[in-house]
């Protein structure tokens, strides 16, 4: 490997190195504060390293990786999301009894997996990234062992993720057996060269879709989402919702593009049905949830359905819409979970709807942030979620997906009901307001996310321009 090669994946190397150093740090002396500061530093350095890109893009590290503007952007997104999660983590874990330091090692490792996914263009790197991330997540989900639902969530994720990995692996094996290729472009070339695709390859793609669908949490592979969200520590839930799902989505986009997936009608219909089912199931089950974590879990299923509509719209506008929506979704998810994390106390998480009663009069600023996040999820103007939804609808109208769009509208209205219900609970009158002091970094991170949310909602042109350039130069 040349120096340029190393430089081009510098963020990945920094995070991997940081994971090793973090382990040594724990061995020397346990100190939560030092550990947290070190991890934050590693993320910031990795983010800055993105701007040290040596050569012209796209830069390929054959056979496993490709670094193009698309990969860079998403690496940045993962790092910023991870950083925000970190800011929320300190105060959340500080008040707990368990040992806190290993959490940061696992978080670094999961991020390594996420970054590998967004730069990979090969089955091997895909699987390596996926497993690195999954295995770290097993630990992260069950991290607070003393809590009642932690073990359940951890075991559940372990079993299901292992199962879905097996599906994925078998699918890849089938595709490889027939085509003899494991790099995405190679498979694309093979498909272009065969008149009728053999059944085993179609079956392979189907099995792979199961594996990917599980990670994305789309219907019918969504069963784990509410339980995992509910059982895992709040920063981890935020991480799963954003980094884990986001990196998988990015991978799917790259894979689909390289194999020219848009040409296969049957594949299109499968995804369309998944999108419809995800929207309805997610929104329907979210309607009467009393638990905000579960509500967010179901809403994330529905949002993945919305994203799939943009994905199906294909072409430029559709891909841009996916990326814009993903950014908006990452901001809102971390923001929403962040508010929950800041409100949680030593004993339990703030997760019941009743914990939010009168929040407007207790913690006006947090309530304002949470309102903004909910309204963004509902797609109300002045927030990034609105522009994202607009982008999806625009892409859909352009591609003529009228059926899917009508269903999107119906679902938006259903969604409105439960998002607004949460907002309504927050401004119910409260008898005795008691205020809890809030950690500075947490509030700082959330305020930053809210500013970003409003900025993208009012003046999205800057981000749109970046995404547009990036999609045009995608390798």
């Amino acid at each position: 490997m040349s120096a340029t090669d190393l430089l081009s994946i510098l963020p990945l190397l920094i995070i991997s190195g940081a994971a090793v150093i973090a382990m040594l740090l724990v061995a020397i002396k346990r100190n939560h504060r030092v550990m947290h500061a070190f991890t934050v530093l590693a993320f910031i350095l990795a983010f800055l390293a993105l701007f040290l890109q040596p050569g012209p893009l796209p830069y390929e590290l054959r056979p496993l990786f490709v670094v193009d503007a698309f990969a860079m952007f998403n690496t940045g997104l993962i790092l910023v999301a991870g950083l925000s999660v970190l800011f929320l983590s300190y105060s959340y874990f500080e008040q707990r009894e368990e040992r806190k330091e290993e959490y940061y090692i696992l978080l670094l490792l999961a991020t390594v997996g996420g970054i590998v996914l967004v730069v990979s263009q090969h089955f091997i790197s895909l699987f390596l990234g996926l497993e690195t991330m999954s295995i770290s997540l097993y630990g992260l989900i069950a991290y607070l062992r003393a809590r009642e639902r932690s073990d359940e969530a951890g075991i559940k994720y372990l079993l299901l993720a292992a199962l879905s990995s097996a599906f994925l692996l078998f699918g890849m094996a089938l595709v490889y057996a027939e085509s003899g290729r494991m790099d995405f472009t190679g498979i694309g070339l093979y498909l272009a060269g065969t008149a009728t695709v053999p059944v085993s390859v179609v079956a392979g793609f189907g099995l792979m879709l199961i594996g990917i669908g599980f990670k994305l949490g789309i219907v019918p592979f969504h069963m784990w989402t509410p339980d995992i969200y509910e059982g895992s520590p709040l920063p981890v839930a935020a991480y799963i919702a954003t980094v884990s799902k986001g990196s998988m989505l990015v991978l799917l986009m790259r894979f689909y593009r390289d194999i020219n997936g848009y040409e296969y009608t049957i594949l299109w219909w499968v995804i369309a049905i998944i999108a419809m089912a995800s929207m309805f199931t997610g929104n329907w089950l979210a309607l009467l949830q009393q638990n905000v974590k579960r509500l967010l879990a179901y809403s994330s299923i529905a949002h993945m359905g919305y994203i799939l509509i943009a994905f199906l719209a294909g072409q430029e506008a559709g891909q841009e819409a996916v990326m814009f929506y993903l950014v908006a979704y990452v901001i809102t998810s971390i923001g929403a979970f962040g508010v929950l994390a800041l409100l949680s106390d030593k004993v339990r998480d703030a997760e019941e709807l009743s914990d939010f009663k009168g929040l407007f009069w207790r913690q006006p600023w947090l309530a304002a942030i949470f309102t903004a996040m909910m309204l963004s999820l509902a797609g109300i103007p002045l927030t990034a979620g609105f522009i994202g939804k607009f982008y999806i609808v625009a892409a859909g109208v352009d591609a003529g997906l009228w059926l899917l769009l009508i269903l999107l509208v119906v679902n938006s209205v259903i969604g409105l009901f439960y998002y607004v219900r949460v907002v309504a609970v927050m401004f119910q009158p409260l008898e005795a307001p008691q205020r809890k002091p809030l950690p500075f970094f947490g509030v700082f991170a959330l305020s930053g996310l809210m500013v970003l949310l409003l900025w993208l909602g009012i003046y999205p042109s800057s981000l749109i321009a970046v995404i547009r350039d990036m999609m045009l130069t995608m390798g």
């Binding site: 109300i380 625009a394 109208v397 509208v409 209205v413 219900r421 309504a424 321009a465």
Partner: protein, 488 residues
Amino acid sequence: MILFLFILIPVLGAFAAWLSAAWNKKLPRWIALMVLVFELAMATAFWSEAVGDGSWYVTFIRPWMPRFGISFSLAMDGLSLLMLILTFFLGALSVLVSWNEIKERTGFFFFNLLFVLAGITGVFLTMDLFLFYFFWEVMLIPMYFLIGIWGHGNRLYAALKFFIFTQAGGLLMLLAILGLYFVHAQSTGVFTFNYFDLLNTPMAQETGRWLMLGFLIAFIVKLPAFPFHTWLPDAHTEAPTAGSVVLAGLLLKTGAYGILRFVLPLFPEASQYFAPYIMLLGAIGILYGGKLAYAQTDFKRLVAYTSVSHMGFVLVGAFAFNELAYQGVVMQMITHGISTGALFMIAGSLYDRLHTRELEEMGGLWPALPGMGVVTMVFVMASLGLPGLGNFIAEFLILAGSWQAQPWITVAATIGLVVATVYSLRIMQKVFFGVSVREYKLPDLSLREALMFVPLVIVIIWLGVYPQPVINTAKPATPAVAVHFTSK
């Protein structure tokens, strides 16, 4: 630039009002009042100077999202100007109405009030369809808070219902807007949301009809027309007085405005095709709303149903396609805003004194409240369409115009005037005449209330006696299509 200021000042005022509450609880209402009086003065000054050369007085365009051809585009013609003056006038009055009614969280209340007014101002000024949708939605959230936080008993239900109804209509409109955008791009190659560019977009007959329905549903939900009116009585009844005034006086007008500004000019063919059905809906609304109004025992609910009835006239007039009816619709928007706003204020003042809105518990109040009785009498008469008051001019023009288009529907609509007489007189009968249930000793109009009601009375009489300035202002703004089918 002045157009941008019309929107910016209330927004800034909103934040100032919110922040100032931390300092002094009484400051927000003064800020809100000053902002709105200033805006009203600005708009009126503009009116006195606006000379009728060409239909557009002033425009303001800045690029916003060039990727989609979206610009921050504002423009004002006679129709917008009249609506703006109405907005600021009723806005200032709704601040006065809330002067003592709102005791808790005043800062946030006036923040929401100013914000909803800013959104309404935006709706009346924007000439970019994306921006229009943007403002259309921006109005919703603060209104939701106004009803949901400061409303009466069943406020959360009412607020949610209002929100979901209008949002559902709005999303259909968004689909239609995007449909129009791509149809335009297909035929001309230009991607734009600009209103003036989208006018006269060539499109297939069927496409035009579908798109028009998308717009129309959003507007008649807001208007509201039968059968989409069910959110309105709940929202009006549970809202605080200022909320009811803004809802009835202004939010409903955005629906009517949307029909005049967008549906008719953008889809002339489809509008003409659907016109008889829509006029029929309007006539049903007039009669059905009137009937329901008569059956109510709650003062505010009664007034709310009269809105359904009066807004039916807007539908009948707008789709009659002639000059008389068009002018009538514009007049109706203004006079209904004023007379219904006034009736809600009266309901609020009575509630202040009696702590009830039930008509059965009122009665015989005239001796105790002669001043308020007189004011109520004026607006009840306005509501039933007595000559000499503004509503008469409006309804007369609409009926005279629609007679030429659909005589039978006009007959049905005219019967609505009889119904209106019945339900309006019932208000007077139940509240001020009859036997006094209890011997009330109540204070009559306070100075603040007099300040609210006297301008309203003056305006409604002025509109009834000398409506010419309003008609002159609205006339150049009449889109050619609105009168295009006169000969038919």
